[in-house]
Every structure is written in structure tokens, then in C-alpha cells.
């Protein structure tokens, strides 16, 4: 849950009183233009931004002053826009990097059966993987830890349609397993059928909140806001 969250990069004030909350097991998409503050919201939740004010609570615990690794240990998995795959580590080392936070993480075999091409490329250095494989890996490695809240930033961006379809199926699968997911998406067609709720972000604040059933009716308004 976020309440009146403000965040700054240096002198620039990016988040202006961001307020929203997620229910357990819910998939929520943050829609908005580039620079509207969606990525900053995820980074602020993770504690990756130094200057923040307001309230961030996860499972009732105030996390605003926790360092990133302690936020992660509350069961938060973060997949950044640039994916954060480590070049000097093999595919499997990348996958095994995050320590297990709690029981109930996905076992390695299950990850490999869900994403068989990662199994084939275990020993490949991280950055020799294709963009799609890197994206799969970035999501897979936070599943193993037992994280139940996933923060996924632009996971469909820049990938071939066939890969995007597979990611879509993966998120559907995760949703059915009860993960709570906060998606940052540019692609309305990707997020549309996935999310239970949509938050339109403008200038560091949520300006429109819609449920899945309202999205179709308000499509025009959303499109105008997003400038598509």
C-alpha cells in the first residue's frame, strides 16, 4: 500500500503524492506515458531511491526506511526494465543468485519445466541470452525466492510477438497461482486482459483508477491520457 508517496531524483520531484493499494492475489497495471513516474514508483517501493517521503506499507509493515535487501526479504521480487541480468554470471548462476526469502518458492526443476529454454542454456553467460530469454530469466529468478509480490517493469517491451505471447501465458499462470503482481506496462493490449485493475499515472500521481470491466468503456479516455 502506498500513501502520499513523494520521491526525488536529485533536485527533480518525480512522485507527487502517489496513493494506491494492492490486494493479495491481485494483478494491477500502472499505465502512463514515459516519464510519468511508473518506474520510479517501483524503484521507490524497493528502496532504490534515496529521497522519499510518505508511507509505503507491505503486509502492514512500514518499509520506507528499509534498505533494498530487507524489502526483498519481505517477499518482494523486482524485475527492472533493463532486466538486470549479470553478464559475468551464467544463466543458472543468475537464476540462483537471489537468496530464498521464505519457503514456497518455485523449485528449480519447476522453473525449468515452465521455461524449458532456460534449462537448455544453463551454462550460457547471462548477456549471451536473447532478449526474450533474459526477460524470462529475470522473472524466473524472483520466483525461486518465494516472493509473493512481483514488481514487473515493462516486461513486454522490445520483444518479438511470439515471446510476448509466452510471457503473457507465464503471467496468467502466475496469476492463477495467487501471486500479487504490479505491472508497469506501455502495451495496453498486453496488460488489458491480464490485470484486475488499471491505474493511469500522470506526473507522478494516479489520475484514473479503473477495474477490468471499466477499461473497455473508458478506452477512449485512457487512450487520450496515454497519448496513443
Amino acid at each position: 500500500m502506498l500513501q502520499d508517496l513523494h520521491a526525488w531524483y536529485g533536485e527533480s520531484h518525480i512522485l507527487h503524492g502517489m496513493t494506491f493499494s494492492l490486494q493479495r492475489g491481485e494483478v494491477v497495471a500502472l499505465l502512463g506515458r514515459n516519464g510519468s513516474g511508473r518506474t520510479t514508483t517501483l524503484r521507490a517501493i524497493m528502496g532504490l531511491i534515496d529521497r522519499r517521503e510518505g508511507i509505503i506499507r507491505i503486509g502492514g509493515k512500514d518499509v520506507l526506511h528499509l534498505p533494498p535487501h530487507l524489502v526483498a526479504r519481505l517477499g518482494v521480487g523486482y524485475c527492472p526494465e533493463e532486466r538486470g541480468i549479470f553478464a559475468s554470471l551464467s544463466c543458472e548462476e543468475n537464476l540462483l543468485l537471489p537468496p530464498q526469502q521464505s519457503s514456497g518458492g518455485m523449485p528449480l526443476e519447476e522453473i525449468y519445466s515452465l521455461l524449458p529454454n532456460l534449462a537448455e542454456r544453463r551454462q550460457t553467460p547471462g548477456t549471451r541470452l536473447s532478449g526474450g530469454e533474459q526477460q524470462m530469466l529475470a522473472i524466473a529468478r524472483i520466483l525461486r525466492t518465494g516472493a509473493r509480490l512481483l514488481l514487473l517493469d515493462e516486461i513486454s517491451e522490445g520483444l518479438a510477438p511470439v515471446i510476448v505471447d509466452r510471457l503473457f501465458d507465464l503471467i496468467i499462470e502466475l496469476k492463477s497461482r495467487g501471486y500479487t503482481i504490479l505491472l508497469v506496462e506501455q502495451n495496453k493490449y498486453f496488460a488489458g486482459p491480464l490485470a484486475d485493475r488499471f491505474l493511469v499515472v500522470e506526473h507522478g500521481d494516479v489520475t484514473i483508477q479503473l477495474t477490468a470491466s471499466e477499461l473497455a468503456a473508458k478506452a477512449e479516455l485512457v487512450d487520450r491520457t496515454l497519448g496513443v
Binding site: 524497493m46 528502496g47 532504490l48 534515496d50 534498505p67 533494498p68 535487501h69 524489502v71 526483498a72 526479504r73 523486482y78 527492472p80 538486470g84 549479470f86 553478464a87 559475468s88 554470471l89 548462476e93 543468475n94 540462483l96 543468485l97 537471489p98 537468496p99 526469502q101 529468478r141 524472483i142 525466492t145
Partner: protein, 292 residues
């Protein structure tokens, strides 16, 4: 070239190898610290000096023998490194790299100043431990046992460090942290603790080299400054990003330096820097470095 006796040639190669071992151990620590902390650790030579004084003082004041010192001095200097990181260096995180460099440079001056004040600049002798005195016949030449010991012990420590970094879970954290520490922390790893550990490990490695060096070099406050400059050149030549590369570069440069003393002694004190200039012309990221 053929009028040089084989004994002289081999002698210089072994001396070079011994120096190369010190370069390798020191440059490993420097590269580790730079990788994770982004600090050019100018105090590294002073930590090496602390190792040598540690073994000297442990013998003089406490009667601790060489073998116990070899184990304990790196632990004590490592703990000192951990304290320095926790209490002082940590405060500079987020500032320009220059502050880390200035701080460690200042720390080196303070440490060297303290020891110079108490013990003077003249070298203090440390006896070779009895078990390692004498010569060993290697078949093709006779060599002081202590030098063979330095090379052997250094290679074991270098291999252990390589194994830790390249083959263990902790090592994968370190490698990942070198690339993107924030991301590693966001995945739930206690990066601040890891930073302390790495600085302590670098300090302990430097102290280990200092203990090994005590019986062959004089123990004196400025011994670290002298070797540190060459070690920086070794790190630049090897390039950051390869543990095995750092070790190989250290050893190779020690041998090259040794050979230069045979063939053209005038150049022996600058040869490392000539090699550095040549390598930088051809490969700006160093021999084993990853291009940015």
C-alpha cells in the same frame, strides 16, 4: 645474450617470480575492492606494511612465532579493514570516487607516519623461520627454501581466492555486485555486509603478502608505498574483470621485471610501466579486461 650464466638468469627469474607473487596477491585485493566499492584503495600498501610489522611485532612483543603470525596477522589486519570500512569508508558512499581515493591515501599516510614515528625509516630485520632456512636443490638449480615457500604459499592463496570468486555462491554475489550492486541488493542480498567483507578480505590478503615478505625484505614503514605503485600498474595491465587474469599478470610482470635486471638493468625499475603503456595502446581495457 649467451654470455649470461644460466644460474644468474634462473636466479633473477625466481626473484621475479617471488615479486610476482606479491604483485598477484596485492592486485587481487585491489581489483576486488575497486570492483565492488569503486574505491581505488591507496591504503593497500599500508595494509601490506601492517602485515609485515604485524609479524615483526608479534615476535618481538608477544613471542608469537612465524606460523601463528601467518594465520593471525591477516585476521587482525582484516578486522582492522572491516572497522575502517564500517566506520569511515562507508560514509563516502555516493560521493565522487575522488573522496575514496583521498581518504585511503590519507589513511596510508597516517599509518606510515605512525610507524615511522615509532620505528624510524630504517628497515628492521625479521629472521627466516628455522624450518625454511637453507637451500633446496630443484635439479636444475639450487634455490633458497624460503623463496620456494613464498611461491607455493602465494599460489595456494591465489587459487583459493580464485575459487572463492569464480566457483562459489558468495563469489557469484561478488561478481554480480561488481556489475550492479543496487540490483544485487534489490534481489535480497545484504550488499553493505558484502562490501565490508570484501574490504576486509582485501586487507587480509595484503597483510598475508606482508607477512610473507617480512623475512626477505626489511620491515619498514614505506615498504608498501614502493610496491603499491607497481601493483597499480599490474591491475591496469591485467584489466579488471578476470581473477585468473590478475594472478597471471602479477606473476608474469614479476618475471619480466626479473629478466630485465639480467638483460638491461637500467630499465628494470620502469619496465612495468613501459609494458603498461604498450598494453594500453593496444588494449585500453587491459589484457583480460572487459571492454566497457
Amino acid at each position: 645474450m649467451f654470455d649470461i650464466p644460466l644460474q644468474v638468469l634462473l636466479g633473477q627469474i625466481t626473484i621475479g617470480l617471488v615479486n610476482g607473487c606479491f604483485y598477484a596477491i596485492l592486485s587481487l585485493g585491489l581489483a576486488l575492492i575497486f570492483g565492488l566499492l569503486n574505491v581505488i584503495n591507496f591504503a593497500h600498501g599500508a595494509l601490506y606494511m601492517l602485515g609485515a610489522f604485524g609479524v615483526y611485532l608479534a615476535m618481538q612483543k608477544l613471542g608469537v612465532n612465524y606460523w601463528w603470525s601467518l594465520l593471525l596477522v591477516p585476521v587482525v589486519v582484516g578486522a582492522f579493514g572491516a572497522l575502517v570500512e564500517r566506520l569511515l569508508l562507508r560514509r563516502l558512499i555516493g560521493l565522487d570516487h575522488l573522496y575514496g581515493l583521498l581518504f585511503t591515501f590519507g589513511l596510508a599516510l597516517v599509518l606510515e607516519g605512525i610507524f615511522r614515528d615509532i620505528y624510524g625509516s630504517a628497515g628492521l630485520p625479521y629472521p627466516t623461520p628455522p624450518a625454511l632456512r637453507g637451500l633446496v636443490d630443484l635439479g636444475f638449480m639450487r634455490m633458497p627454501i624460503y623463496r620456494v615457500w613464498i611461491v607455493g604459499a602465494s599460489l595456494v592463496v591465489c587459487f583459493a581466492t580464485w575459487f572463492l570468486i569464480e566457483r562459489t555462491r558468495l563469489g557469484s554475489y561478488l561478481r554480480a555486485g561488481t556489475e550492479n550492486a543496487k540490483m544485487v541488493q534489490a534481489l535480497g542480498i545484504n550488499v553493505p555486509l558484502m562490501v565490508t567483507f570484501v574490504y576486509a578480505l582485501g586487507a587480509a590478503l595484503a597483510a598475508f603478502a606482508g607477512v610473507l615478505a617480512a623475512p626477505i625484505y626489511q620491515v619498514q614503514p614505506l615498504m608498501g608505498s614502493n610496491i603499491l605503485i607497481v601493483t597499480f600498474a599490474v591491475v591496469v595491465i591485467g584489466g579488471l574483470g578476470s581473477t585468473a587474469g590478475a594472478i597471471a599478470t602479477g606473476l608474469a610482470l614479476g618475471v619480466i621485471e626479473g629478466l630485465s635486471k639480467v638483460f638491461y638493468p637500467e630499465v628494470s625499475s620502469t619496465i612495468v610501466f613501459i609494458v603498461m603503456a604498450l598494453v594500453l595502446l593496444v588494449r585500453p581495457a587491459g589484457l583480460f579486461g572487459r571492454e566497457a
